[in-house]
Amino acid sequence: MIYLDNSATTKPYKEVLDSYQTVAMDFFGNPSSVHGLGGEAELILKKAKSQIKTMLNTEHDIIFTSGGTESNNLAIKGIAHELRDRGNHIITTTVEHPSVLEVCRHLEQNGFSVTYLPVNENGKITVDQVNAAIQKDTILVSVMHVNNEIGAIQPIEEIADLLISHPRIRFHTDHVQGLGKINLPYNHGGIDAITISGHKIHGLKGTGCLLKKKNLVLQTLSHGGSQEFGYRAGTENVAGAVSLAKAIRYAVEEQKNYQHLAKLKDLLIEELLTYGRIHINSDEDCADHIINFSITGVKPEVMIHAFEEKDVILSTKSACSSKNEDASYVLLACGRDDDVASSAIRLSMDVNQDRQDIVEFNKVLKDVMEQYKDVMG
């Protein structure tokens, strides 16, 4: 089985699971309890935080959450509501993950105004577009680091450079698909909040965190206990937090292996280009681990199953929206026509993906294309 759907989720590393289990069994106390068992759990939670800070070499506060979705909600809703008195304008892009887009739509229904920056045919925005969209009442910019469908990398550092001279505007970036792959300047003074999710980096589902600048004030989403500096009520998932620290450690350490994906991507692209019916949606500037292409004329679900028959696991669009059959909004935003946008397939590699897997994929592709030659007419 060749698993090429690492952007949907990854298999947790054994070491990550081991640390989860150890903590869940041996340090089960409630970190808020004042007795020894609570104290131990609290200490472990703190240690996980300081480990993450060391590994990412950042001074930011770490708020543990239940994953990327919650981190995005917390950052965007939290900042928007906190700064509501100052302004109600938010800037984002048309190609964000639903956990950003849906929050923005919700905020629009509640009196905020949102500018959705259009992207070019490669899924990218420019810093000039951000600059031009800034208004007097702009309070927040949220732009993802690496797009989950096509791998487009946004100019986060440039935007941060721009926004550092706009101290009234907060900047959030969704780093879920970038962590362990593409560098992000974690300590850049122009970035206020960064979203991380565990299960995309061989951690567990239901784990994640928000990195936030020390002086960033947020309104909390959930009210209750005073955990996580009061920003996130609820008994902490201590074992999950420790497992996330472990997963981040591996992601950071293994980023050095990422380079070799460029060669695998070349190998893939070269093969894909030999088929007239295949449109490549990820250009060379995109991240190397995500390659999106369309095989027009056949439903992508059919293709996914054809590949699966031959033990190759791919996906259509992102997992979160795989159930509705519409075209990919990301590809439509990139200006693709309906045909291309509704026949997209995403191949997403692991940093340690074996070259042989891609060689094998190329063979299977040949078979599948042969098999569906007639259907495609």
Binding site: T9, K11, L17, Q21, F28, S222, T316, A319, C320
Partner: protein
């Protein structure tokens, strides 16, 4: 020294069967349940099976279970979600003074948003009165939240009667059953609530997972936005491993509920009996006949709670002063304040003992002996 853990209302260790089930399933169910390929479908099956079982445990339907990141999130979703969805029908909401902070603080937020909130008082029994409830209920009341069992005193609240009162009323009824779920069988047909909260780590499951039961006829506005998980009531890739553990914790609970309950009864009754027979000068907070078997809240005259907790901890006995959630500082309990008023000495000298399935009668004996020693010393110092 062997630690005696008597803080099960704060959190519980993982059940043995939960550990092994999670270990077993992780390699089988690592896919993203939204993926359409093999790994996604296998994981979806695991998730569906868990949801079915969780629903069955309270006699609800499959689609009436929304998994959340815990009791706090479930309470927040219930309160904000239901109030927002029904704000056209009125502006008045009711809760009690003794709710967990994960209910009280959302209500305080509702107040800031302009809702009119009634906090029902309790008397020294630790329970709200139905007369008060009837008096406060109005035509424009849209939402009521009263917990099933209080987490500090273990005192059960008259939730059946409230549900009955609300049968022909527009108000939506939510109950925080986090403490009740582990000690009594709950059937949403017999206890006809609209929304009900359960948390996994109080019933020997993992932390970071819980569920909200939402009666299918009730509207709730989504609070966490994103993908289409949990039928769009709660976005975010599902915490599959924790759900597997939670599911197993519920299965074990089902098998062991009666024996656990009897065990808690035996332990807490014996605890009270031995305390009363000892030199310890103490009284039980709240009406004993309404007490859930796993919690006993005790006031120790002429002592101080911080010193009590510290000394007990040094002797290897883990207990707490009430809710664990007011991290660090021991503020006077809002529950005891509601029962006795702000000036009462019991606010400063009460300790919660909460029992678990692995405690035994030897533990009780050691705890009572230790309490004799500590309290007589503290009384001499006082």
């Amino acid at each position: 020294m062997d630690y005696i853990y008597l803080d099960h209302a704060a959190t519980t260790p993982l059940h043995q069967s939960v550990q092994s089930e999670m270990k077993e399933m992780i390699s089988k169910a690592f896919g993203n349940p939204s993926s359409i390929h093999h790994f996604g479908r296998e994981t979806r099956k695991v998730l569906d099976r868990a949801r079915e079982n969780v629903a069955t445990s309270i006699n609800a339907k499959f689609n009436e279970i929304i998994f959340t990141s815990g009791g706090t999130e479930a309470n927040n979703l219930a309160i904000f979600g239901a109030v927002e969805a029904n704000k056209d029908k009125g502006n008045h909401v009711i809760t009690s003074e003794i709710e967990h902070h994960a209910v009280l603080h959302p209500f305080e937020e509702l107040e800031r948003k302009g809702y009119e909130v009634t906090y029902l008082p309790v008397d020294t029994s630790g329970t709200i009165s139905m007369a008060d409830f009837q008096k406060e209920l109005r035509d424009d009341t849209i939402f009521v939240s009263v917990m099933t069992v209080n987490n500090e005193t273990g005192i059960r609240q008259p939730v059946e009667k409230i549900a009955d009162q609300l049968k022909d009323h527009q108000a939506i009824f939510h109950t925080d059953a986090v403490q009740a779920y582990g000690v009594e069988s709950i059937d949403v047909n017999e206890l006809p609530v609209d929304l009900l909260t359960v948390s996994s780590h109080k019933i020997y499951g993992p932390k970071g997972i819980g569920f909200l039961y939402k009666n299918h006829s009730i509207h709730v506005k989504q609070q966490l936005f994103g993908g289409e998980q949990e039928r769009k009531w709660r976005s975010g890739t599902e915490n599959v491993l924790a759900i597997v553990g939670f599911d197993q914790a519920i299965r074990s609970l089902k098998e062991e509920l009666n024996s656990r309950k009897k065990h808690y009864e035996k332990l807490s009754n014996e605890f009270i009996k031995q305390l009363q027979a000892s030199d310890v000068i103490c009284s039980i907070n709240g009406e004993t006949s309404l007490r859930s078997p796993h919690i006993v809240n005790v006031s120790f005259e002429q002592t101080d709670v911080e010193q009590l907790l510290m000394n007990l901890d040094l002797e290897g006995i883990a207990v707490s002063s009430g809710s664990a959630c007011t991290a660090g500082s021991i503020n006077p309990s809002h529950v005891l304040t509601a029962m006795y008023g702000e000036e009462d000495a019991r606010l400063r000298n009460s300790v919660r003992f909460s029992f678990g399935k692995d405690n035994n009668l030897d533990d009780i004996k050691r705890v009572v002996n230790t309490l004799e020693k500590i309290t007589s010393r503290l009384r001499r110092l006082a």
